[in-house]
Amino acid sequence: MSKILVVAEHDGAKLNASTLKSVTCASKVPGAAIDVLVLAADASAVAPQAAAIAGVGKVLVVENPANKEPLAAVFAPQVAKLAAGYTHVFGPSTTFGKDLLPRVAALLGVSAVTDIMAVEGAHTFKRPIYAGNAILTVEVPADAPVVATVRVASFEAAAQGGSAAVEKADPGVALPTHTRFVSRSGATSGRPDLQAASRVVAGGRALGSAENFQIIYSLADKIGAAVGASRAAVDAGYVPNDLQVGQTGKIIAPELYFAIGISGAIQHMTGIKDARTIVAINKDAEAPIFESADIGLVGDLFAIVPELEKQLC
């Protein structure tokens, strides 16, 4: 019997989809009983969403003004305290989880398992190493708590329809004040979120300029897609950092991915390995992207993309 505590990621108003995927990963552990932990200043919006996830036993809620922003140094001692009695503590392998879970693990005296992509047993997991160029099956000790991050692209979101009890919890630990939130700036484009979108249109260095990148935005808006970019396009300053797809950017798993003017470097391909269908448009027929694309079209993107937008109406 495994008792799993899933740490919820949210923004105070909405539960992040990464939480649903972490619950699915937890449900793959044999004999799992799953609780969700919500740390917030005010959990009134998020706790009911967590309680509605199918398969969740109960939702533990810690409300504290100090929990307004998800600071790892503040969250970790609370999670570690409430982890008593659980065999596993899971969180998403997003920037939220990657920040927090290793800190929780250190407090519990264990190393964490990073980026679970498959559950082979209660203490055996598959995870990518070498930028996804090798897959490690790792067995962790059964006599210590398992702390892990879940590779969200590897799991479907858990279904709705649950009616878990919501319980207030008080970890009763001192919280540090040495780390203070200042600000967060993000793209408020009105477009779908890159990591959750079912369709993504991404552009690469071949776009040539920020102005030219408009044809990518335009096609994306036409089909309701999120916009992504290769590292080369980000480094060249065509688009902001948070659009970068790849090993050093975001790892995504959309139903449909357009790689436009992207050559397909290994580090980029690592980010889209789990995409259902990859469409590549590139003028270089030898570009490595065509090795992995489901549908390839060789030609001038500046002619193809506007034409594609027209024909997709």
């Binding site: 290793p102 160029n133 549908i295």
Partner: protein, 249 residues
């Protein structure tokens, strides 16, 4: 002495095409080019820039790994680190053990800043900075793309999924760095010569009371599943047709 500690890990060079051993025990590293973990190189560059601004007096590079890790530490010294510490081990350590070694070194060296790569590009764990900050009971900032140090505090901008997040943290602190923080300098030949004379201390894990190996057991290492090659269409009309056939548009 205002000191910065930097982690330097010896890894398979990022340009090398990774091949899994036929017996599935790991990846092939024999005869393969090894380099400083690229994120660690960025951490070192940042430490050197902070020192060059007059905000630090000494940069100490710390490597944990086999004897050959000396090569990467010499490169770090050539880039400008003042001295290096090699903690020699032939076994792969779990992240918590790595953090414990750094904890012991930090307790002796008393740095005001520890700069580490956000992850090593071999095992991709991304845990050491967070664990070290925890063991030292100090602040952490992960995936930093901007670091400003002043008056016993650091203002750091970090890359998060939603964009950028700015934190103010008290020093000492442990920071892990991301790609866009800076572009590391090239090493010049005279610096390589000078680096040979810089101190490099060699220690063992026993000096820090840390056990060899890892409680995590490698069951197997496999190549990733490959995507099968798809179709090539000749024009936009055919592309739209193929997408419609798959029910994607």
């Amino acid at each position: 002495m205002r000191r910065i500690l930097v982690g330097v890990k010896r890894v398979v060079d990022y340009n090398v095409r990774i091949r899994v051993k036929p017996d599935n025990t790991g990846v092939i590293t024999d005869g393969v080019k090894m380099s400083i973990n690229p994120f660690d190189e960025i951490a070192l560059e940042e430490a050197l820039r902070i020192k060059e601004k007059g905000l630090a007096d000494e940069v100490v590079a710390v490597g944990i790994g086999p004897g050959d890790t000396q090569q990467q530490l010499r490169t770090a010294l050539a880039m400008g680190a003042d001295r290096a510490i090699l903690v020699q081990t032939d076994t792969a350590l779990a992240p918590l053990s790595v953090a414990k070694v750094f904890q012991k070194i930090a307790e002796t060296e008393q740095p005001f800043l520890v700069l580490l790569g956000k992850q090593a590009i071999d095992d991709d764990n991304g845990q050491t900075a967070q664990m070290l900050a925890t063991l030292l009971d100090r602040p952490q900032a992960v995936s930093c793309s901007k670091i400003e140090v002043a008056d016993g505090k650091a203002t750091v901008t970090r890359e998060v999924d939603a964009g950028l997040e700015t934190l103010e943290i008290d020093l000492p602190a442990v920071l892990s760095v991301d790609l866009r923080l800076n572009e590391p300098r090239y090493v010049k030949l005279p610096d390589i010569m000078k680096a040979k004379k810089k101190p490099l201390d060699t220690k063992g894990l026993a000096d820090f009371g840390v056990a060899e190996g890892s409680p995590f057991k490698t069951v197997k290492v496999e190549p990733p599943p490959t995507r099968s090659k798809g179709i090539v269409v000749k024009d936009v009309a055919e592309l739209v047709g193929a997408l419609k056939q798959k029910g994607l548009v």
